[in-house]
Amino acid sequence: MTALTRIQAARSARFYAGRVLMGFAMVAIVVFAGAPFVWMVLASLQPLPNLLGAQMDVFAFGDATIENYVRIVTEKGYLQWFLNSMIVCAVVVGANLVFDSLIAYPLARMRFAGQKVVLLLVIAAIMIPAQVILVPLYVQMRDLGWLDSYAALIAPYIVSPTGIFLLRQTFMSLPRELDEAAFIDGASRLRTLWSVLIPNSLAMYGTLAVLKFMWTWGEFAWPSLAINSAELRTIPVGLAGLRSQFSTQWDLLMAGSVLAILPVLLLFAFLQRYFVAGLTSGAVKG
């Protein structure tokens, strides 16, 4: 063996050792991130006795049943929770797309009195954690008579500082000539926003819609405070309720959890690009 081939052999041995190590690391990450989902799905198919104490056996495929799914829908009113979550999400996402655009547009393209103050209000709002205002929000909704209603679930979320900020950045990145042209043709401000800026920012709108849906879908602390009646529960509130009664109803909880993440997973499967963009740019919830 010449010196050169020996060096090459040593190099490739190290190369393959590196590859194997990398492979192990990747498998470890996938198992850590993914295994809990596998357990959840397997457990959701087992009758309660197989999920308790020493008899716990999620791999008892012989006992597998969809009974849990049937029961959480028929006995616990899962469809109602689902409907509530969907209504709240639809209104919140829709309202956000409208209101966020209406604030982002003047901030990006117009000059008006108070512009700096409005921009500051929006950016500072991104940094206010929702948890800080739980107490006064409760008092406020009580005084308005909105507690225990859709209004309480929706109102605090209909405009998103993060959304405004992201849209403003997107609008500002578009060439001004685009809307100048529309302007010269005599289009109004609203018209310009609607037929020039929005069609050119669709990717950001997709990101925003996905992000806001995901956040609203998972919202827990405020809804569980604001809602009392069983028929107004959203999915997270309903699920958390299954946990505290006497002992934990793992069979129903696991089936409910699978159903709860199904819509987000479906969206993720089809719109992964928007999720990836949203998770990084909207990493601060707001």
């Binding site: 716990m56 966020d100 800080v132 998770l279 990493a283």
Partner: protein
């Protein structure tokens, strides 16, 4: 554009149009965010249980907070949680980002799976992990049993409950931080790395001496996010332990949540303190930005 509608009248019209755009969204933003924020501060000087009239008590609530052992415990728990989750989540996400910063096809799959926990509701994450942590027969202890280890009661043990909750938080969000760091890594020009390689730098040196320093902005963003998110942790704690056993996992928000409706002024004072704490990582970021641009 402003030029086209020059003059005082044009400017006034522009103002009117702008505010007509702003108001529909600005009103709810102020009404449901800024007004409550100010109200929380105001309420923190009153004693109130939601019934009857609030009674002005000056700074009594802040004195109660500072002398409350439970509040101190919650500060301690939150501090431990913040440091622990930040260190572990940062390490894991940086390692994953480095691993995934290659053109292999399998990389996309690993990235996708790492992101799954980040998109599901926090409550569901808490439920799944509470199941995994079940003391007898729970999946984790079954796996440990294979290796002959008699697994403990994770969430019922005061020493283990907090680390167990922290693992869930790391699991939930490391994918997001990984994504941010991966974005940072991908922005480093290839030529720089190649130049270092030609100069004979090892993989290890290339990473720590060349790439890592260039991650500055992404690193800082992730750090601020980690601290910011850790300060306000609630959902997973509430679902898994409700702050127990014996206040071992009682984070600030978890503590205040139990007082919210019976001791309004006290909870308001607590959230005001929390808000001030949250300003720390944010001012850190602003300071660092200043330094970077100066």
């Amino acid at each position: 554009m402003a030029a086209r509608r020059g003059g005082v009248i044009g400017r006034r019209r522009e103002n009117l149009t702008a505010w007509a755009f702003l108001l529909p969204g600005l009103i709810p933003l102020v009404a449901f965010l800024y007004w409550p924020l100010g109200h929380a501060f105001g309420l923190s000087f009153f004693q109130w249980n939601l019934l009857g009239e609030p009674r002005f008590v000056g700074t009594l609530q802040y004195e109660r907070l500072l002398t409350s052992d439970t509040f101190r415990q919650s500060l301690y728990v939150t501090a431990v949680y913040t440091v622990g989750v930040s260190v572990v989540a940062y390490g894991l996400s940086l390692g994953t980002a480095v691993l995934l910063n290659r053109g292999l096809r399998i990389v996309r799959w690993v990235r996708t799976v790492s992101l799954l926990p980040a998109i599901i509701p926090m409550v569901v994450a808490g439920v799944i992990w509470k199941f995994i942590y079940e003391p007898t027969g729970g999946p984790l202890n079954q796996v440990l049993g294979v290796f002959g280890i008699d697994g403990p009661a994770w969430l019922q043990n005061p020493q283990l409950a907090l680390p167990a909750v922290m693992v869930v938080s790391v699991w939930k969000d490391f994918g997001i931080y990984m994504l941010v760091l991966l974005g940072g890594l991908q922005q480093i020009p290839r030529e720089i790395e190649e130049a270092a390689a030609i100069d004979g730098a090892s993989d290890w040196q290339r990473f720590w001496r060349v790439k890592f320093p260039m991650l500055g902005a992404a690193n800082l963003f992730v750090l601020v996010l980690l601290i910011f998110n850790a300060f306000k942790v609630f959902d997973q704690v509430w679902v898994m332990t409700e702050g127990g056993p014996g206040n071992a996992t009682l984070t600030i928000i978890t503590f205040l949540y139990t007082r919210l409706l019976t001791d309004v002024g006290f909870a308001a004072a607590g959230t005001t303190v929390l808000f001030l704490l949250v300003l720390i990582p944010l001012s850190l970021q602003i300071l660092a930005r200043r330094k970077a641009t100066a």
